[in-house]
Amino acid sequence: MDSQKVDMFLISNSKYFESHQMGIIRERLLQTDESKWASISTIQFKDPTTSLIVSILAGGLGIDRFLIGDTGLGIGKLLTCGGLGVWTIVDWFLIQAATREKNLLILQQYLY
């Protein structure tokens, strides 16, 4: 894919990915062919800020984990009352990074 499109993608989607992954993403996007551009440009990524807000408001019920697609961990969190409160608080700090990791996985599915 040509670098202009790739850079445009990176700029408009920078908040959805971890900064240290941007280089790798750029490389992979440059190697992917043009035909995938249509599908890639329409991917809906999960917003880390939204998941943080959900985590603070309803983290005890595991809803933040359900939101990013971690269904199993979400159930675990729900059954244990937010891991006895500990997991709830830990996730306040982890959930944004976890969301960005999940977004990378979503993107990788489209690149193959």
Partner: protein, 134 residues
């Protein structure tokens, strides 16, 4: 470490923590303590309020009372037996059995109708908790 390895270690650690918590609650019961952030901040019960008491009642063989306090106790006991069993079996067979089962269960519950059914059941349980005044 592979993703499967990480999940295995995390689930096993979770199991150990859960076991310690249950044993602690059993031998050193303290009145009216709850680790639930929702209960402590808003005073409202959450869907799994009473689940510890339920598990302890199941340990005593009181199946009906355990269900009445919180049916999720059954789910927790089920999970607490599956985790070590598959973890150990997986170690013996040199496969990541626990994480395989975990990912299969995740796929299963992600199916639309199963997920909606699950949410509805949890919701009903939550409302029942309010009724019971937990």
């Amino acid at each position: 470490m592979t993703k499967a390895g990480k999940i295995e270690h995390f689930l096993f650690a979770l199991w150990v923590a859960g076991l310690c918590y249950i044993l602690f609650s059993n031998f050193y019961p303290i009145e009216n303590t709850s680790f639930c952030i929702i209960k402590n901040v808003t005073g409202m019960p959450c869907p799994s309020c009473g689940s510890t008491r339920s598990v302890l009642l199941l340990g005593e063989g009181k199946f009906l009372e355990a269900f009445k306090i919180n049916p999720l106790g059954y789910v927790i006991v089920f999970i607490m037996t599956i985790i070590p069993a598959t973890f150990v079996y997986g170690l013996i067979k040199h496969k990541n059995l626990l994480s395989e089962i975990f990912f299969k269960a995740e796929k299963l519950i992600r199916k639309k109708y199963i997920f909606i059914g699950f949410v509805v059941l949890i919701f009903i349980n939550w409302i029942w908790n309010f009724y019971k005044g937990l």
